[in-house]
């Protein structure tokens, strides 16, 4: 079933443009050498925007933990229940994490600790989102 569609704004447009090109590109402060996601107005370490740029990451991560949504409140996703919602940490920087429904992994059968790789799913014509798939 269709997922809820993200609406890019001025800050996030570069991120979503990259996703639509099937690239995972995160903000990176060259001064602090710190990736951050979601994007923010300034670096979360030095509070400056002066050294923020976008950097493609390799899209590898690990499943830290997960839940199964059985009774959520999003109208659009109710037909999908139950479905997985995992917290995925980025291998390049495990303090960066993402949500994922883990396409291809049945509900309740999530291998916590397993490696995952980023994949891209269409949620609307011309709009992809980043998802994560367990690496067999």
């Amino acid at each position: 079933m269709p997922k809820v569609i993200p609406v890019p704004d001025a800050l996030s447009t570069p991120f979503w443009d990259a996703v639509n090109e099937k690239r995972l590109s995160l903000q990176y402060c060259t001064a602090c050498r710190k990736l951050q996601y979601p994007p923010q107005q300034s670096c979360q370490v030095c509070a400056s925007a002066a050294h923020l740029e976008w950097k493609d990451v390799n899209g590898r991560g690990h499943i830290a933990t997960y839940i199964v949504i059985e009774d959520g409140r999003l109208n659009r996703r109710m037909p999908d229940q139950p479905y997985n919602l995992a917290m995925v940490t980025l291998d390049e920087d495990p303090t960066v994490n993402f949500y994922s429904n883990l396409p291809g992994t049945p509900p309740y059968a999530v291998p916590v600790g397993a490696p995952v790789e980023v994949v891209f799913e269409e949620v609307a014509p011309g709009q992809l989102i980043h998802e994560w798939r367990v690496i067999p």
Partner: protein, 438 residues
């Protein structure tokens, strides 16, 4: 009237030292309205506005204070469910009623202006707008009285709900995720502390051992304490005592978060009378002194806070509170942390090290004797889980325990200090009360 946003009242930084007004401000009155599940849309004596007026009257009556003696009104004017509250949070587009119910004010929202007009307070000199939720509002009141902006202040927390359900419709009915929601909603996180805390809770179980259902004794005890709270929803609606079996057989909401880990939305209001310690001593109830208030607003570093962050945040909030009160874990007699979801309370317990509970020890503590009459009367209020989502039981019970008027909930251990909060690990505030000013 002052706008509180221009007033620097928060104690939201580390290293502020002992609060300058420690023991000089007191709570002198408490008032609760009936606690309903919803509003029937017909009974005008049961609107959020009517209930708020009633709560104020009860607080003033308890203190022995008249309308003309009140010079401050601090009233939270935000929806408890926010923009995703849908028709539970907004009466429109249904037709309004005759004044004073000819807008959302009085039906789903209350502010100082509406209240002052309806109750005809003649001498209000401090009634800020942009008032935060009760987690911070009690701190604002304590600071305002301490600083002399007012001397006798009603602190009012209306928790409205028209339908007895939250976050149905509104933003959650949208096919699009805008703003901050673009990072969470596409994957199913509708936004709330149910999600925020369940992931760290899972990590907690992995790190320290235990399972989610180790929360069962805590939740059951909250229900027990709620049934001992005469004004609470459970006690006034004949809700049977929850058992361990009821808990572990209940369905999942966000597996492993169970139905009974979640509080019950209600339509109710509460009021507290804050005043100077001097004035409080001449009022009808034994004063309950404010020893410190502290706030926190920690920014998460990525999509989902993890266990490390939750522990770091709660540790910092605890240090901040203890420093400002000039006290330590061994000094806290009554401990009423928030239980809005059962999955967050353990983090507060361990951060504040109440009764010596350290990181990873909460589940074993829950399995022990935490009854209100026992040696470790944890959450003597019953919180939201035991009373409905008023977010005020923690404060009322703390005050009553120190007064010695908690009735069937009165603890048998020493009751001279109390720590209370509606707060989440990331943002909110704490307040420390004392039976004595120093």
């Amino acid at each position: 009237m002052a706008t509180q946003s221009q007033y620097s009242w928060r104690r939201d930084k580390d290293g502020l030292g002992v609060w300058e007004h420690r023991g000089k401000v007191a709570v002198a009155g408490v008032g609760h309205s009936p606690v309903d599940r919803r509003w029937d849309g017909v009974s005008m004596d049961q609107t959020l506005g009517a209930y708020t007026i009633l709560a104020c009257q009860r607080a003033m009556q308890e203190a022995g204070v008249t309308l003309d003696q009140v010079d401050g009104i601090i009233c939270c004017q935000s929806h408890i469910a926010g923009a995703s509250g849908g028709s539970a949070s907004q009466w429109a587009p249904r037709p309004y009623f005759a004044p004073p119910y000819d807008s959302e004010w009085g039906l789903t929202l209350i502010n100082a202006e509406w209240l002052i007009k309806q109750m005809q307070f003649p001498n209000i000199r401090y009634a800020p707008d942009n008032v935060p939720t009760i987690s911070e509002m009690v701190g604002l009141a304590a600071q305002a009285v301490g600083d002399g902006l007012c001397h006798t202040c009603l602190v009012i927390y209306p928790t409205g709900n028209l339908e007895g359900r939250y976050r149905r419709g509104g933003e959650n009915a949208d096919d699009y995720a805008r703003g901050a929601r673009q990072w969470t909603v596409p994957w199913g996180n509708h936004g709330g502390n149910d999600f925020i805390n369940i992931f760290p809770h899972n990590q907690y179980c992995l790190k320290y051992g235990g399972t989610h259902d180790d929360l069962a004794p805590f939740v059951v005890n909250q229900h027990r304490n709620g049934l001992l709270t005469p004004w609470g929803f459970n006690a006034t609606h004949d809700i049977p005592q929850l058992t361990i079996e009821d808990y572990v057989s209940s369905r999942y909401i966000l597996n492993p978060l169970r139905l009974w880990d979640c509080d019950r939305p209600v339509n109710a209001s509460a009021a507290y009378l804050f005043t100077t310690a001097e004035r409080a001593r001449d009022m009808q109830q034994p004063p309950v002194y404010v020893l410190n208030h502290a706030q926190h607003n920690f920014r998460q570093r990525t999509t989902q806070p993890d266990l490390d962050e939750i522990e770091m945040w709660t540790d910092r909030a605890a240090r901040r509170m203890y420093e400002g009160a000039g006290l330590g874990p061994q000094d806290v007699d009554i401990f009423n942390p928030y239980d809005g979801y059962a999955t967050m309370t353990q983090f507060f317990l361990e951060a504040f090290q109440w009764h010596g509970v350290k990181r990873g020890e909460a589940f074993a503590f829950y399995a022990g004797d935490i009854r209100v009459e026992g040696p470790h009367p944890f959450c003597s209020s019953g919180g939201n889980l035991g009373n409905g989502r008023t977010r005020t039981a923690m404060y009322t019970d703390s005050i009553e325990q120190l007064r010695g008027t908690a009735g069937a909930r009165q603890v048998t251990v020493r009751a001279e200090t109390a720590l209370a909060a509606f707060t989440t690990p990331s943002s909110g505030g704490w307040i420390m009360f004392g039976k004595h000013p120093s």
